[in-house]
């Protein structure tokens, strides 16, 4: 019999020849499919890396787990190749009870204590699937095991299921561990070994840890029999102090065998919970609370009548939408009342009312006459019915009440376009009420295709006596297919209209249609308009203009807006100044003066100053003060601005180092990133960044910055030496790396480095990667010293 390696090379050569002649039938991946098992086992133990991998793959694939196979798989868990080790663990897991041998158990017990997360995790999985053979050893291991191993021990026991009941005492100990991961793993394992144990469920629900209570309540919801005390306690747990627990409780109630009326009560109680996420859970639970839908909708309606805050009301509306059955008419009335009282958004109320069906339309119209502010709700509801409420909508277009006619306008959009709807629309365009006319024009503005007679009517509307109608007609202009010259003429008149509503519409449409440049001479006046909304719209319209159109009066007007008393105008002015690349001293001075007010304005100013860069040195003191602002967004923007402006690098580095202690992550991250961009000039920050490697949140940006800085201060030498054996791999590697960077200054660290190199090259903690880094560092230090060989 040929030795595996030579045989396979000949096979491979034969395959290549076969491939050249198009004779390949079997893919190379299956090269061991025909190979006898004992040979595969031998290759798995003695072949080269690729051969061992393929052999291990084949062993797992065959799923024939007799004793020699199990023994080989156990050996593979100690292979030098990671993939082979994984296949060994995977094979033992797949073998399950067939791998119940001491050899396999010993290998897995070693692996469950490995430093590698995946190895531990897989070992626990395999131990659990093998069965209870390893249980006594796992129990014995508990006390001496570290936290991560205990998590995996608990997981392994849980995987064993009910046969591992003997470990309940140990797992109960785990429930009281100070490490939450161990507690959680122990709780899950307990539920796996004793899923229907009432005493266990009770104990879990009374635990101090809310996550454990969640598990307990879920178990009760799933397993408790109808009429049991446990279910009653579940229903009462909606007042748990922790919102996460209340979320789980309400869903568990919904799915439990609790009496339907009791379920409904519990869910209703949670619908008005002060915490939004709990209310969300209650809404999700509504689907399972269909005992008496009519009663339920009325109960929710009653709740709506009592709530005072819009957010809770919105939750209740959502619940009515999600109920399995449509709400009753009585509930719908309560919805309308709440909508009027709380000014609820039409888009959230209308879907609820639509569920009742077109029969609600007469009621809607009656309520609308009493409460005209409900027009948007009624309009949205009618629209939502579409063709189903066609007759009602057409009748409403001739209703005596203007408010009803307005609602009908909105609903016309949802009807298929016919001669009849066209006639109705034309009539509404000439309605006596200006609100109706304006609404009708709005509808035209949203139509895909505007009939020519309607176009002509709307084109005359800019001359309407009502400013609302004039404004609506301006907004509908882009839809009318008029030629550009006519549109421009209409807009010129609009921007000098006596009413701000019309001027606003004019400038906005000018921006949309690209006609702003032709109105440039009027823009300075618009930017100084008495109405702040018009000023903002004019500024936005200017932002898209080419820089050469920035005539001096326009420039002055923009500068004035940067100091405007309205924050929205200031923010728009700042944005436009940035967009037009205004960077002179006057602009910088105006921006500095504007460093006040709400967060949005501050951030806009800081970004504008950052964009100006080094020409904005005068702003540095004011910006530095903002490093202590309450808002992390402002502090972050201040850091970016400082980094873009400050020429004094040491001062900048000092400020950025200070910002690495900021309580907000985004601020720290911004500081870290900016330090990185400074490169070696920021080496004073290395010790602080090094500390941050230990933080899960900050280690990513810290390591990025360290790589970019690529230098270290010699004062950090001791810190690097102390961290050579850090359990965090990244910290350890950076320690080695930066010692190398210190060169001759790190000569005193050479003995430490050489000791560790020996360990990395051979011995239990062998690591090729670590050895390589150590060698490089040592070479770098020795190469830099005067007395190096």
């Amino acid at each position: 019999m040929m030795v595996g390696g030579v045989r396979n090379r000949i096979l491979a050569l034969a395959w290549v020849c076969a491939a050249m002649f198009g004779l390949t039938q079997v893919p190379v991946a299956a090269q061991y499919e025909e190979t006898p098992l004992e040979q595969v086992l031998e290759i798995a133990s003695s072949g080269d890396r690729d051969e061992r991998r393929d052999a291990a793959y084949e062993i797992v694939r065959r799923e024939s787990f007799d004793a020699p196979v199990v023994e080989t798989l156990a050996k593979l868990t100690a292979d030098s190749d990671r993939q082979v080790r994984f296949l060994g663990l995977l094979g033992l897991a797949h073998a399950g009870p067939r791998a119940a041998s001491q050899t396999a158990i010993d290998a897995l017990l070693r692996c469950i204590q490995d430093g590698d997360d995946q190895v531990r995790f897989r070992a626990a999985d395999a131990l659990g699937k093998i069965g209870t053979l390893a249980l006594p050893q796992l129990v014995a291991l508990w006390d001496s095991a570290d936290s991560q191993t205990r998590v995996e021990i608990a997981r392994a026991i849980g995987t064993m299921g009910p046969p591992a009941r003997g470990a309940q005492e140990l797992l109960s100990k785990g429930l009281e561990d100070s490490d939450e991961r161990i507690r959680r793993s122990a709780a899950n394992a307990l539920l796996a070994v004793a899923p229907q144990d009432d005493a266990l469920h009770r104990a879990l629900t009374e635990h101090a840890d809310p996550q454990i209570r969640c598990l307990g309540w879920q178990a009760i919801g799933r397993h408790s029999a109808p009429g049991s005390d446990a279910l009653e306690r579940l229903a009462g747990a909606t007042d748990d102090p922790d919102p996460l627990v209340r979320e789980v409780v309400v869903m568990s109630v919904a799915k439990s065998a609790l009496d339907p009326q009791r379920k409904q009560q519990a869910i209703l109680a949670t619908l008005t919970d002060p915490v939004p996420s709990v209310r969300s859970a209650a809404v999700a639970a509504i689907e399972h609370a269909g005992a008496d839908p009519q009663r339920l909708s009325i109960d929710i309606g009653n709740l709506l009548a009592q709530v005072e805050d819009v957010q809770t009301a919105q939750t209740l509306l959502l619940a009515l939408r999600r109920m399995p059955a449509p709400p009753s008419m009585e509930a719908a009335s309560m919805v309308l009342a709440a909508a009027g009282r709380l000014s609820l958004p039409a888009e959230e109320v209308a879907p609820v009312l639509q569920r009742v069906g077109p029969s609600i339309v007469p009621h809607l119209l009656a309520v609308l006459e009493e409460t005209p502010s409900l027009e948007p709700v009624v309009g949205a509801t009618l629209s939502g019915f579409g063709a189903a409420a066609r007759d009602a909508v057409m009748q409403c277009t001739s209703h005596p009440s203007a408010v009803v006619r307005q609602a009908a306008c909105a609903a016309l959009q949802s009807l298929p376009s016919t001669a009849e709807t066209g006639v109705a629309l034309q009539r509404l365009l000439t309605d006596a009420d200006d609100g109706v006319r304006a609404k009708a024009i709005e509808v035209v503005g949203q139509m895909q295709h505007v009939p020519s007679e309607v176009q002509a009517q709307v084109a005359e509307a800019p001359n309407d006596p009502s400013p609302r109608v004039r404004a609506a007609s301006i907004r509908a202009l882009p839809r009318l297919g008029l030629e550009a010259g006519r549109i421009e003429s209409i807009l010129r008149n609009a921007i000098v209209d006596e009413e701000p509503l019309v001027r606003l519409a004019g400038i906005e449409v000018a921006g949309q249609t690209g006609l702003v440049a032709s109105l440039v001479d009027d823009l300075p006046t618009l930017i100084r308009d008495p109405d702040p909304q018009v000023r903002v719209a004019a500024l936005h319209a200017v932002a898209g203009m080419p820089a050469e159109k920035l005539i001096p009066p326009l420039r002055q007007a923009i500068l004035q807006c940067i100091g405007d008393r309205h924050d929205a105008v200031r923010a728009a002015g700042i944005e436009v100044a940035s967009a037009l690349h205004m960077r002179d001293g006057e602009t910088v001075a105006a921006l500095i003066d504007s460093l006040r007010g709400p967060e949005s304005v501050l951030v806009a100013v800081l970004r504008a100053l950052e964009g100006i860069g080094r020409e904005a040195q005068a702003a540095l003191p004011a910006i530095a003060e903002l490093l202590h602002h309450d808002s992390p967004t402002v502090r972050t923007a201040a850091i970016a601005a400082l980094a873009g402006i400050d020429k004094d690098t040491p001062r900048l580095v000092a400020r950025l180092i200070e910002a690495l202690d900021d309580p907000a992550w985004e601020v720290r991250q911004a500081a870290g990133a900016r330090l990185g961009t400074l490169g070696p000039q920021a080496k004073a920050a290395v010790p602080k960044l090094f500390e941050l490697l230990a933080s899960e949140e900050d280690s990513d940006f810290a390591s990025g910055a360290l790589r970019e800085i690529d230098a270290a201060p010699k004062e950090a030498l001791q810190m690097f030496v102390q961290n050579l054996d850090s359990p965090d791999r990244r910290t350890a590697y950076f320690s080695i790396f930066f010692l190398g960077k210190l060169g001759a200054d790190a000569k005193s660290a050479l003995p430490e480095l050489k000791t560790r190199l020996k360990e990395a090259e051979g011995g239990p903690n062998r690591s090729d990667v670590r050895a390589r880094f150590l060698r490089q560092a040592i070479e770098s230090i020795e190469g830099s010293t005067d007395d190096s060989p």
Binding site: L90, Q118, F121, V278, A281, D700
Partner: protein, 448 residues
Amino acid sequence: MNQTNRISRRAMLRGLGVTLALPWLESTSSLVHGATVSEHPLRMGFIFVPNGVNTHRWFPNKVGYGFDLPPVLEPLAPLRDELLVFSGLTHDKGRANDDGAGDHARSASVFLTGSQPRKTNGDNIRVGVSVDQVAAKAIGHQTRFSSLELGIHAGQNAGNCDSGYSCAYSSNISWASETTPVGKEVNPRLVFERLFAGGSAREVDQSRWQREALRKSILDFVADDARRIQGVLSRNDRRKLDEYMTGIRELERRLDQSVAPETRDIEVDYPVPDGIPRDYREHIRLMCDMVVLAFQTDSTRIFTLMFANAGDNKNYRHIGVPDGHHDLSHHRDDPVKLEKIAKINRFHVEQFRYLLERLSSIREGDRTLLDNSMIVYGSGISDGNRHNNENLPVVLAGRGGGTIDPGRHLRYDTETPMCNLFMSMLERMNVHVPYIGDSTGTLPGLTI
């Protein structure tokens, strides 16, 4: 026609070379047992995006219900109650595991297989069978197409695409066997033809010729059948059938427009074959529409869709990001690059939202098509700079026919295999396998 006759669920509208499956209609209630509501099958789908995400803008802070939607996921706000967002899922076999560079190729090949790809750029490729194909083998015979594999860029299936890994790994997420990727279709027109072609090859060709030459719609070819069937439908169903056929006509129009002469002016920096839309957003949306049609008509119950191949370096100029996606993903914590990545991620999520909204607009009895689906969206890499494969960005949309409680953010212990999610999905599809990839079991917590 006999009023007691109803339409078979498998009824089709037929014409020359055209077969148009019907959507779910009340009138297609089960005949055999006299039930008033037909059962709706579960569907599953998988969407892949490359290069990881801006993880600081992806993962919610709050666990459980009412979770916050970070900026990248914010477009999904109207559908938050239909989603499960995961933290902690891992694809260990996407890691190098002593194989060195090649993270992108690994990230795509591991995404649905959970298996370590063999590092090769020859033809001795090997990874594992993907979850969609595991399902397709078990249940694919129940539909006209066992599964649908879609994409936007074909990519290559041979050659070295990533540090010694074959292009087959980067260009495919669907694998029928350890050695056989299932090629994806990137031409929406061809997908459309595939969905609606019927009859002999000659009839299909003739139909296509007539439609192209005479600018006819496939609906013109089934008009007679449609008129016949209208007579036995309820009022609601007639409206639904109208909407369905209007939707098909609209889709045809968009297919024509997407390759119309004026769209050829859209600037792209990669070669675009004839018949492929140049507008990337429109291309994705057309593919999403194909998925919806295929599900709606029960032509298939399984799909995969790659928004781009692994390591894709396309620019996103149309959303104000002129840089290459892959280049940006190596952000080195530069806040400017991170924001651009977030923009790209958000753009992709917006297209995902488009698909979900389409699915949720189609009613199936008391539920919607989305309710009866499980759609996974994610990447095989978490942070594109670190190329790490733990804590992957993954979202599951849909209610699995009522077997999933969405509306939550679920956080799992690190190293929880993503394949455990696949096992849970397979179980719900009634596909029972002992494992897939590196799974250790099912994923707890999908239902409370």
